[in-house]
């Protein structure tokens, strides 16, 4: 009975179906985007660089300590981990601060480092801060000799002009090629960067680390938990959030999520009202039919059941079509904006269908009930 009447009203049903499908598409598309935005946008905020640092409790800490600290955090949340060891070195008799680090880690945890040239990839390659490059007139490709004088010599109070043959022997030097010039607009421009291995070779010691910078995709509360856990389980280190990055991210990200939520709510509300109105109109125009059936003796209940059934069936089919389209749309948005796939939430499909059915069901119910209550004669008369 239901499908027969549906077929008769082909065009009208098609219009109602389309309306429901549009509503479901917007529902599933927007809700998918809403749930995905924190993850996707959060990843964008990692461009601000490290949001957690691990400092030594005393003078320095070892590479093993650094590894242990890094292990506390789930590996899929670590965007970058960069250990740094700082030493005073000399270029052309003047002091410069050298940082030994893991180049891949540094690149991942500080995406805003702008390198003119290339990052050092092999031994003997140097990344020079813009200020240092300007000071010494260094360009990409230039060779530079870096000298290191062990601390004991300084402690003796001598100046760099070696006073005796023995002291000269204590200086070690290494030849580098400048592969890149670093531009950040910050303090990094006064440093030179080499690999940890090169620094060890230059200083002829395996020194400890001075700081470990971590870039982690996690919100402020999770970051605090990780920091506490590191402080409890790893000796010699003190983990701390980089407030400037972590807190600001929390502030802005919360606002962005609120924005998407509110937009979703407004759009959904308006769309659902629209769907409901269309359903109501569809039923209302069949007033005559309802009146006629009543006049012919059909019970209120059977009429309500039939129309309600139609409405709900419409809601189900339209909901299914719309939900699938909505997923495609959300995927398109995710790829277009973040170049990343959405996380497919299978639960959303049945929910979208159920919501459609509920909206169409309720929207059909109201006019049907109203119409069945009117005297059939009046309805048939056309009032």
């Amino acid at each position: 009975m239901i499908s027969a009447s549906l077929l008769r009203r082909r065009s009208r049903m098609l219009i109602a179906l389309l309306s429901v499908a549009i509503g479901a598409m917007i529902l599933s598309g927007l809700v998918t985007i809403y749930y995905d935005v924190p993850r996707q946008m959060g990843a964008q905020f990692r461009r601000y660089g490290s949001n957690m640092i691990v400092l030594p409790k005393e003078e320095e800490f070892s590479a093993e300590d650094a590894e242990k600290a890094e292990e506390v955090i789930p590996s899929d949340e670590v965007v970058g981990a960069a250990p740094y060891r700082y030493e005073n070195v000399r270029i052309n008799q003047t002091t410069v601060l050298a940082a030994g680090t893991d180049m891949d880690g540094a690149r991942a945890s500080s995406p805003y480092w702008n390198v003119d040239g290339d990052w050092p990839a092999q031994t003997g390659q140097l990344l020079v801060g813009k200020e240092v490059a300007g000071k010494y007139g260094l360009k990409v490709g230039d060779p530079v000799t870096v000298t290191y004088t062990p601390e004991e010599v300084y402690g003796a109070g001598s100046d760099t002009e070696a006073e005796s043959e023995e002291e000269m022997i204590l200086d070690s030097e290494k030849d580098f090629t400048v592969t890149g010039i670093l531009d950040t607009g910050g303090s990094e421009e006064s440093y030179i960067y080499m690999s940890l291995e090169d620094l060890s070779e230059l200083t002829e010691t395996d020194g400890g680390l001075d700081i470990l910078e971590l870039s982690i995709t996690a919100n402020q509360d999770q970051l605090k938990d990780y920091a506490d856990k590191i402080n409890q389980t790893v000796d010699h280190v003190n983990a701390r959030l980089v407030k400037r990055v972590a807190q600001s991210e929390g502030t802005v990200l919360t606002k962005l999520q609120a924005l998407v939520l509110l937009v979703t709510v407004v759009v959904l509300a308006l769309t659902m009202i629209c769907v409901a109105t269309t359903m109501t109109a569809t039923v209302t125009e069949r007033k005559m039919e309802i009146g006629l059936r009543k006049a012919l003796g059909a019970s209120d209940r059977s009429i309500i059941q039939e129309f309600l059934g139609e409405g709900i069936l419409l809601g189900a089919v339209g909901g299914l079509i719309g939900a699938i389209l909505g997923f495609f749309f959300a995927q398109g948005v995710s790829m277009g904006v973040f170049n990343n796939s959405i996380v497919f939430r299978p639960l959303l499909l049945p929910i979208a269908i159920l919501v459609s059915m509920a909206v169409t069901g309720i929207a059909s119910m109201v006019p049907i009930r109203a119409t069945t209550r009117i005297d059939p004669a009046l309805v048939l008369k056309g009032e």
């Binding site: 109602a16 927007l30 660089g49 100046d159 607009g185 910050g186 407030k243 802005v252």
Partner: protein, 427 residues
């Protein structure tokens, strides 16, 4: 004729107007939010602090060979008298805040090294343009938590130039709390500071003491000298032109130069600052400037796509409904044809009724839409969405186009049918 139709079928007309209003309000709300979102998010991103720094041309050249720490003295400074010129650049309107910084090495009473930083906190500036600005690090350090006491308030009655703010680390070291007096030995003079606030910066600033600019300068006879200026400006995300210009502005053609100069790129604002502050070098702080450009772009793109989805939904909804309401009037159209009316006349009649209803509904929808936009703006950002006039013609075109698209095919289809069939109700 139209009036007659209205009186008879006002309920149906109301339904059409209502649904068109819904679709219009959806479209206009989303469009309004989308057009303003860039400015709003840009403002929010200022929470990260300065995105441009201005430093003297010659910095940290000579380093003291006896100083194991490797910290050199800066051999040149910026002039404090140039500070007012910051708000005279072409893009002055985009400068949200700025503050001078001077770092003075000093010692505590116990002989420990400490850095005293001089800056503005809420320094009141009355600009020749009539604007006024409260400039200072108060809003450039949004992540500082004041654990005890307050910010230094330069405009308060009780303000004294010896007010100081201590980082939690240095406060702990000195065992100082709010109200205490701390004795500091500069290289040229000594001073007694009154602790008015203790802050937690979560970084190296926790080891420092912050005082007013003049107060810090006095320690070292550095009157009129500033080591750097931090600037927080609303910028446009970088593109190819901006990157090319950042490397070397003189490599641009005249047209390119004008475009670049007149767009609020971080690099062009930095360039303009360099022009007014003598012997300076200004550059974007990449950590902040590059990242915010990226976030801005992504947020705008996201909003554009959400708006497109909403507008497609609204358009389809309107079109759908209009088709439905035309189909509803099949009997009427069939009757008119049977009575001998011309196709053109029928089309004109139905169309004009529907268009009129759509326009009325659309007008109401605009108001609703702008209202929704304001709700979104106020709830999320705490400020109103600036309504762009461009929204009105765009949505109007959309509504009219959808109305026409929805009604014309349906009307044509109905007119092709035999009037007798239509009147009998068989479709």
């Amino acid at each position: 004729m139209i009036k007659g139709a209205f009186v008879r079928q006002w309920k149906k007309m109301l339904m059409i107007a209502f649904t068109v209003a819904l679709g219009t309000s959806l479209a206009s709300a989303m469009l309004s939010v989308m057009m303003d979102i860039g400015d709003k998010v840009n403002q929010e991103l200022k929470t990260y602090g300065a995105n441009i720094t201005v430093v003297p041309k010659e910095t940290s050249i000579v380093s003291d060979l006896y100083d194991v720490q490797g910290e050199g003295g800066t051999s040149a400074y910026l002039k404090e008298e140039d500070l007012g010129k910051v708000m005279t650049i072409f893009w002055a309107f985009n400068i949200v805040d700025y503050a001078p910084i001077v770092n003075v090495p000093a010692q505590t009473a116990d002989g420990d090294d400490v850095t005293v930083v001089g800056s503005w906190f809420n320094h009141h500036l009355d600009l020749p343009t009539g604007q006024s600005l409260d400039a200072g690090i108060m809003s450039l350090r949004s992540w500082w938590t004041i654990t005890e006491g307050n910010w230094i308030d330069e405009q308060a009655d009780g303000y004294s130039e010896n007010d100081a703010m201590l980082g939690t680390a240095i406060a702990k070291k000195l065992g100082a709390s709010v109200g205490d007096t701390v004795h500091i030995k500069g290289t040229k003079h000594d001073a007694d500071y009154k602790v008015v606030g203790i802050f937690d910066a979560g970084g190296e600033e926790d080891d420092r003491i912050f005082v007013a600019l003049d107060t810090a300068q006095k320690l070292d006879d550095m009157d009129g000298q500033v080591a750097s200026i931090e600037v927080s400006a609303l910028t446009t995300p970088d593109n190819e032109l901006a990157e090319k210009a950042a490397k070397d502005p003189s490599a641009l053609t005249v047209d390119q130069y004008e475009t670049w100069y007149c767009t609020a790129y971080a690099s062009s604002i930095a360039y303009q600052l360099q022009e007014v502050i003598k012997d300076s070098v200004a550059a974007p702080v990449r950590q902040v400037a590059d990242s915010e450009g990226n976030i801005l772009e992504k947020t705008q793109l996201l909003m554009v796509l959400i708006t497109v989805l909403s507008m497609i939904g609204a358009a389809l909804g309107i079109m759908n409904l209009v088709t439905a309401s035309v189909m509803e009037r099949s009997k009427e159209i069939g009757l008119l044809k049977a009575l001998g009316a011309q196709n053109g006349a029928i089309t004109g009649l139905v169309l004009s009724e529907i268009l009129f209803t759509a326009i009325v509904g659309g007008a109401a929808g605009f108001l609703g839409g702008f209202g929704f936009a304001q709700i979104i703006g106020r709830s999320v950002f705490g400020s109103s969405i600036t309504i762009r006039p461009m929204v009105i013609p765009i949505v109007a075109v959309l509504v009219i186009a959808m109305t026409l698209l929805g009604s014309l095919p349906a009307i044509r289809m109905l007119m092709r049918l035999e009037p007798a069939e239509v009147l009998h109700g068989r479709q």
